[in-house]
Symmetry: C2
Subunit: 420 residues, 2 copies
């Protein structure tokens, strides 16, 4: 290691250790099974495994599937999982019981909910979205529009311009609350109010919000929402997503993916579809049980930790990272790709760097896991439930070493494009 | 137990044991983890657990998720699972590599494929289906039609009347090859040929066929197909389904559920959708990995067993059950609800009985697991990979005892409707 860095006292490693000693969430670290010698700053993409999730998957496989077999649909509560876990997720996003189901994946759920929104506003043809949003949201709406063939159009607007893009032609605004790349948090209350003022609906994608920041769907009077559980809720790879429909819309809610799980009497085996009352009408078919049961442990941890406390720590971890990078790597070419104000961003921070790809590869080789998003963003996620302040300090130390030593120039880390 | 039954020699328990001793598939029983004191005749609904599946789920959770975390999308091959497992399923259903992906569930996949079929026949408005089909297929198509709003209609026709229902107005026939209730197998080759003759497409639901009977999609010149993996392929509860599109249709295939996994360059994060070439364009979003990896063991067993051998044994198990019921319970009021000819039905047999509900409950209480389908069907599935001939003999012995003793009249077995 190079010469000991000279830093102001509050950015010292000792200060980080002191904050860990005083951290009210420190006990949750022990609830995760984490790899050794790794600082995992990518929980904004795939959360790590709660130990209880591993045990639960094993129990579901060996006890519920192997031993109870078909009877588990009732005896092990499999049929009720979308509702029961939906109700638990509801408490984390400001929704009521009976307003959320856990099912399928975000893209499928978004298709359903946007279609439902358009059906609730049959005389309007405009959908407001952010062009810079995680692209699957755009793709889903583009596919839906083409399928409907009714002349709907997407009106793309970026954050500050969104409110002005909402007029009387707009059926629904479809927005991701926390931006996947920059972490920028949109003002859900203000934009929803603006949408309602214009007679439009507001549909929120909570993929980068759920479990990361307190969300208050009903407090904001949101209409519809979708989200995933494998990021800050630590539900496991590809764990099912969720969807929310405010109670006031449920009786009139029509969605295109009508399958037997959404039928009012699925075991009557009627020939014709008749929707369930309530949120159940947004379900379609049989769910992937092993992936679904895995997700409950992470939801449980988030509930016990409390999202206010989690948010406060996540904010502090991110601010520490930001301050350390500014203090120690000010000349290394990193440009903040996220809001500088920690309150204006969610659980992750992006930096732009022309050599982002090999730098991230070098970091990963040293056990600091973040990710790269083309063309030049590197992202670091600050999940508060299993990260320590000293992990942040050590991560920046490693980044500093990689930059100062030029280790990132190792041809092994070169962008694939540059090598082949 | 009552007086020893008097049976013709070939229906004796000894004969069943002798057949087990000579069974070339007997070795596969040891590859399943099965509950004790259970004769599981419900693999047509949820297959039991291959021991390798349990091990694989545990490995994916503890090694791939916990230890490798985000890197598993590449290092553990998660991104490739829909293709790799799809190619393995393809070999079991007469399809080629690159024609099948494993993804989502049957209802979602059916929505996608029917929509694709209608887009390939834009000038036609009729969809031929069996009204008695498992209802989710009807519900899905009803929802799709309502969403499209182009005046499509379903023309319902039952098995013998299907061919006559196919005329020049038909865009696609959407049929389940093996009937969920009766087990009746439709003639895929003849109906597909008839559809093509009329300029229509043929879409086959293989839920009760895949793994149960040899299927030859390309030999029949089928256009599209869907199916599930948790029945005869023993993939685990709610394991993802699959979808097939014949190579000749892929370049023109347009489907409504356009998400990032179906994009030609998902990591370019382009704003606008551009489909992948090939079967990849039928994918939508992130898949439930733990449920998906669980399914490979059952696919592997089916491949090693060989579907011709599996079909021959399943046919023989069902015929033995049928003969034993006829010989021993001829007066007990069971009416065969399936084709009498074993070649005309798939892997299960249904009986109609006015007291079907309490009879099935009594059977389950004695460890013989079948299922009940309203109003009066009881179904027994004959999965050949983990059932022995003597299991069939013992199951009928228990059924005989329940009927002769009147045990089924126990109020504990009464239909819920009659109790509450």
């Amino acid at each position: 290691m190079a010469t000991a860095p000279r830093l102001p006292a509050d950015l010292s490693r000792e200060a980080a250790l002191a904050r860990d000693a005083a951290d009210p969430l420190a006990g949750f670290i022990g609830e995760f099974t984490l790899p050794e010698a790794t600082i995992y700053l990518n929980g904004n993409s795939l959360g790590p495994s709660p130990s209880a999730a591993l045990a639960r998957v094993n129990e579901a496989a060996t006890e519920e599937w192997s031993r109870r077999l078909i009877t588990s649909w009732n005896r092990s509560g499999w049929f009720q999982l979308p509702y029961r876990l939906g109700d638990r997720i509801a408490r984390l996003i400001g929704a009521n019981a009976g307003e959320v189901v856990m099912t399928d994946g975000t893209s499928i759920n978004l298709f359903r909910m946007v279609a439902a929104a358009l059906a609730l506003r049959p005389d309007r043809r405009v959908i407001v979205m952010e062009g810079s949003n995680f692209p699957t949201d755009n793709y889903v709406v583009q596919g839906l529009i083409a399928t409907l063939g009714q002349g709907h159009v997407i009106r793309f607007a970026e954050h500050d311009a969104i409110a002005a893009a909402i007029d009387g032609d707009v059926a629904v605004v479809v927005l991701t609350q926390t931006h996947y790349k920059t972490g920028h948090i949109l003002d859900m209350a203000a934009i929803t109010a603006r949408a309602h003022e214009a007679g439009a609906l507001a549909l929120w994608d909570l993929c980068h919000s759920a479990g990361a920041i307190p969300v208050d769907l009903n407090g904001c009077n949101a209409d519809l929402a979708v989200g995933c559980t494998y990021k800050y809720l630590n539900g496991g790879p590809g764990s099912p997503g969720f969807q929310f429909a405010a109670k006031r819309h449920q009786a009139d809610l029509v969605q295109p993916l009508t399958g037997w799980w959404g039928h009012g009497a699925p075991f009557a085996f009627d020939r014709d579809y008749a929707p369930a009352t309530g949120i159940g009408r947004t379900l379609t078919g049989t769910q992937p049980i092993l992936s679904m049961v895995a997700a409950e442990a992470g939801i449980d941890i988030a509930e016990r930790a409390g999202l206010d406390r989690a948010r406060a720590k996540s904010r502090a971890l991110g601010a520490l990272f930001q301050d350390l990078v500014a203090a120690r790597l000010g000349d290394a070419g990193f440009e903040l790709g996220s809001p500088a104000d920690p309150d204006a961003r969610g659980g992750h921070i992006a930096y732009e760097h022309p050599q982002g790809y090999p730098i991230m590869k070098a970091l990963i080789s040293r056990g600091v896991i973040g990710d790269f998003r083309a063309p030049s963003s590197i992202r670091f996620g600050f999940s508060p439930l299993y990260l320590r302040y000293v992990d942040i300090w050590d991560a920046v130390e490693i980044l500093h070493d990689i930059m100062m030593s030029g280790a990132w120039r190792d041809p092994a880390f070169a962008a694939v494009e540059a090598v082949t």
